[in-house]
């Protein structure tokens, strides 16, 4: 049964593995089990994937219910192509460590930038508070 051809309806995506990008920057991968008219999602066997450089780590999270407004995008994962990726999977601890290092480096650079701008009498452009990423 072809649900709503030509539109972006999620009904055909049910029970398939999806990658969901949230507004706070998290990447979730799970089986889409249920939806509703607001695109609230129920993800099953969800895994939060953290990417740092060429490495990634998966944190199993179980079942997620995502409020629709927090989804940036989502896409079906081709199970056959899922495995051929140049990225390297590492353990959770390792990836969290990498992430922390990356965050720190970013903070440092931000601080330097702000400092430099201040010295030149320019103001730091404030990020929109609504969107974290």
């Amino acid at each position: 049964m072809n649900y709503m051809p030509g539109t972006a309806s999620l009904i055909q995506d049910i029970d398939k593995k999806h990658l969901v990008l949230l507004r706070d920057g998290r990447t979730l991968i799970g089986y889409l089990r249920s939806i509703d008219q607001f695109a609230n999602l129920v993800l099953h066997q969800t895994v939060e994937r953290i990417h740092v450089g060429k490495k990634y780590g998966d944190i199993p999270r179980g079942i997620f219910v995502v409020r629709g407004e927090n989804v940036v995008l989502l896409g079906e994962i081709d199970l056959e192509k899922e495995s051929d990726t140049p990225l390297q999977q590492v353990s959770i601890e390792e990836i969290l460590e990498e992430q922390r290092v990356e965050q720190q480096a970013k903070l440092e650079s931000e601080k330097l930038k702000a400092q430099a701008l201040k010295e030149r009498g320019l103001s730091v452009p404030r990020a929109d508070t609504l969107d974290e990423y």
Partner: protein, 763 residues
């Protein structure tokens, strides 16, 4: 009395002891619920009911496990299945499979016996979920008149479904069946009816934990909740026809193992048949224990996608651990196309896993689901061919959690989405979508016509069309009210601000303000003209859709609008002449204005279009200067070329004149023709010039009988033009959009070979 106490107190003594409290409680009842609530002795009722319970249990036990289905069918107290059937009827009205399956079972209303009161479907209806219909069956009060029955100390034999609450909702109605017969869903007042009350709280009939034979692993229900306690092993609480039924409940570990997708064999072929597409985990449990005589059935059972009705609550399984109870009783399957099932039933065993801890609605949904699975499985077995399409992929088969979202729910979401697409005028509401699909269809049609390629089935979404209803909304008016009440709503919003337009006098304004206002005026004009343009562009479509009689009117409208547009463009001059291009120039200075002109040109008459062209040519350097940033002028080239195609030579000549500003006026002292230079140095200008020249050449070559006068003019112009062209260095020449091919031939008439070559290189 606390819940914990109730199940354990089954003595008559306890009964009596608490009797004294009854008086008070009856009084309280009276106060709370009114006189009609408590007008009979609950003890009597209880005894009567107990009697009722004994009879069916006894009869069932006589039948034994080998009982025929037909016997059970005939049983008046075939309560559980019956009720569930009725439940199914009520709530699953849409599913034809279920309807078919259910129709054959006439919900019997046995005269005055247990089933009438303790109707499980009533209970389940009480639980109003989004999926349940609101229907309440009619129950005659007389049904509540029960024959006297001796009290029953041990309640376990009772079918909990009979214990289920009757149809009355939580609050009693005066004149409704008496409380003793129809207890309201209040916590048990007396311990004397422990299981009775228990059942009320856990109205779902099928949560029995029958005894596990030794060879089965211990049930995980070590963590017995009070609810479970009343359904203690060895209790044939359900009183189901096969008391030796087994409820194999595996440990988590086992379940996990088996969930790996191992080949599953069903313990009870009957159950498996009934359960249809139960989760493999369920089967896994069973299979680990006893081999199934029906390997053939199982693969189909495991196949997910037959379809649809999976309870969303089934996802809870993982948490609660208990497998959802399979359909409660064997007698359920006989209806309809179940003959094949009968043959599959060597050993009637039922799982009755404990589901007391589940929310009533959840439990109901689970059983609903099983019901549906059962029915589907029936049809599955019956018509294998139909299901062939569903065995799409291996992966789907192994996915135990698939179809958590019921087909109905999917339809529901889809319905909502379709509702959002409702529109009275899709061309207005969803223009781009409509256009896009029109284009696609045209492409597809074209493809079809030309090539015999494979016809791509492109299913088009047909959006619901809603007829436009003429609503005249009248705000609510109150009679007899002093003054006019302000009633504002979505349809009738209240006027909050009285915005008055005050026109300022000319003297007060400064120059800048005037300029600004003028610009604003121009912008407003552009917008108005754009609206007219959109309407005019739409007329073609409307024309096709309209009736014959309406068409002339439409045409007139269209013409009128075109005239208006033109007037807007050129500025409505009170006099006949249009001396100033000023208005037009203002419009052309604005980017949107240029685009507007480009779009309007096709609709204008040749004269009007020529007029526009002339005006443009006349003021081209000015326009070029203004366009330096936007660079939108080239968009005018195409409509201009179309216009040119229809112009006579005279017009063309004057056009060239305008473009090149030749002959130059005497007062112009500069050796260079600034006008022409500017034109030549601009892409648009040069291209336009080429177009005009080419058109002229076309005309000349085609039509030899041109007037001498014009010829002279033309020739002169050409000579001058070529002179200028030669003078201008090549580097300064802009790159034209296209160089018409006949320019060379044009120039060849007026210049000699040498110069021609030079020109050639320049172009």
């Amino acid at each position: 009395q606390s819940l914990e106490d109730c199940p354990l107190d089954e003595d008559e003594d306890a009964f009596q002891a608490l009797g004294e409290e009854d008086e008070d409680i009856d009084q309280f009842n009276d106060d709370t619920f009114g006189a009609g609530a408590v007008d009979d002795d609950w003890q009597e009722a209880h005894e009567r009911l107990a009697e009722l319970e004994d009879k069916p249990v006894a009869s069932r036990e006589q039948d034994g496990p080998g009982g025929e289905d037909s016997d059970l069918l005939g049983e008046p107290e075939d309560t559980l299945a019956e009720r569930l059937t009725r439940l199914v009827i009520d709530s699953e009205l849409e599913d034809p499979a279920i309807m078919q399956a259910v129709q054959t079972r006439v919900p019997a209303q046995p005269g005055g016996l247990n089933s009438s009161i303790w109707d499980s479907s009533a209970v389940l209806r009480r639980i109003r979920g989004p999926l349940l219909t609101q229907e309440m069956p009619s129950v005659s009060v007389l049904d509540y008149a029960l024959p006297q029955r001796p009290p029953q100390a041990r309640e376990e034999e009772r079918d909990p479904s009979e214990r289920a609450l009757p149809r009355r909702s939580s609050s009693p109605v005066i004149g409704s069946p008496p409380v003793w017969a129809v207890p309201i869903g209040t916590p048990p007042k007396q311990a004397a009816v422990p299981n009775f009350n228990q059942q009320i709280l856990c109205p779902k009939p099928v949560h029995i934990r029958a005894t596990l034979p030794q060879r089965y692993p211990a049930p995980y229900g070590e963590r017995m909740s009070p609810n479970q306690l009343c359904n203690v092993p060895n209790s044939s609480l359900l009183g189901h026809p096969f008391p030796h039924s087994v409820s194999p409940v595996l440990t988590h570990l086992q379940r996990a193992q088996l969930l790996g997708g191992a080949q599953v064999k069903s313990l009870c072929p009957l159950c498996s048949a009934q359960a249809g597409r139960m989760s493999p985990s369920q089967f896994a449990r069973v299979s680990g224990l006893v081999g199934s005589p029906l390997p053939s059935v199982n693969p189909k059972l495991l196949q997910g996608r037959v379809g649809q009705m999976m309870s969303p609550a089934s996802g809870f399984r993982a948490f609660f651990g208990a497998p959802p109870a399979p359909p409660p009783s064997q007698p359920q399957h006989p209806p309809g196309p179940a003959s094949h099932l009968q043959s599959l039933r060597p050993q009637p065993q039922m799982f009755r896993p404990d589901t007391t801890h589940l929310h009533p609605q959840h439990r109901r949904l689970l059983h609903q689901r099983q019901q549906q699975n059962r029915n589907q499985h029936r049809s599955l077995n019956g018509s294998v061919g139909d299901r062939g399409g569903h065995r799409s992929s291996h992966q789907e088969r192994k996915d135990p959690y698939a179809n958590l979202m019921l087909q109905r729910e999917k339809d529901w979401v889809s319905k909502i989405q379709m509702m959002q697409l409702q529109s009275t005028d899709p061309y207005l509401d969803d223009y781009y979508y409509q256009n896009y699909f029109q284009k696609l269809e045209k492409l597809a049609a074209a493809e079809e016509v030309h090539g015999d390629g494979p016809k791509k089935e492109r299913t088009k979404l047909i959006t619901p069309q809603v007829a436009k209803l003429e609503h005249t909304y009248k705000p609510v008016q109150f009679e007899g009210s002093l003054g006019k009440l302000t009633v504002s709503s979505v349809n009738n919003p209240r006027k909050m601000i009285d915005a008055v337009v005050t026109s300022r006098s000319e003297d007060d304004e400064t120059k800048e303000k005037q300029v600004r206002d003028k610009r604003r005026q121009t912008l407003v004009t552009i917008e108005k003209t754009y609206s007219l343009l959109l309407d005019v562009e739409d007329y073609e479509r409307r024309y096709l859709l309209s009736l014959e009689g309406e068409r002339p009117a439409l045409m007139d409208e269209r013409k009128q609008k075109i005239c208006d547009m033109y007037d807007n463009l050129r500025g409505k001059a009170p006099g006949q002449e249009r001396p100033s291009d000023d208005h037009f120039m203002q419009i052309m200075c604005i980017r949107k204005g240029k685009r507007l002109v480009a779009r309007i040109l096709p609709f204008l008459s040749p004269e009007q279009a020529a007029d526009v062209l002339m005006a443009t040519a006349r003021n081209l350097p000015f326009l070029i200067k203004k366009d330096a940033q936007d660079e939108v002028l080239p968009c005018l080239l195409r409509p201009f070329s179309h216009v040119l195609y229809h112009l006579p030579l005279g017009t063309v000549t004057s056009l060239v004149q305008q473009l090149t500003n030749l002959p130059q006026s005497a007062t112009a002292s500069a050796p260079t023709n600034l006008h022409l230079t500017a034109v030549l140095q601009n892409k648009f200008g040069l291209s336009l010039l080429y177009l005009v020249l080419s058109r002229g050449e076309e005309l000349q070559s085609s039509d030899t009988n041109t007037e001498l006068m014009q010829d002279n003019q033309w020739t002169e112009l050409m000579l001058m033009a070529t002179r200028e062209l030669l003078r201008i260095p090549q580097a300064a020449l802009a790159k034209p959009v296209s160089t018409p091919s006949n320019l060379i031939s044009l120039f060849s008439r007026y210049v000699d070979q040498q110069k021609l070559n030079l020109l050639e290189t320049k172009l």
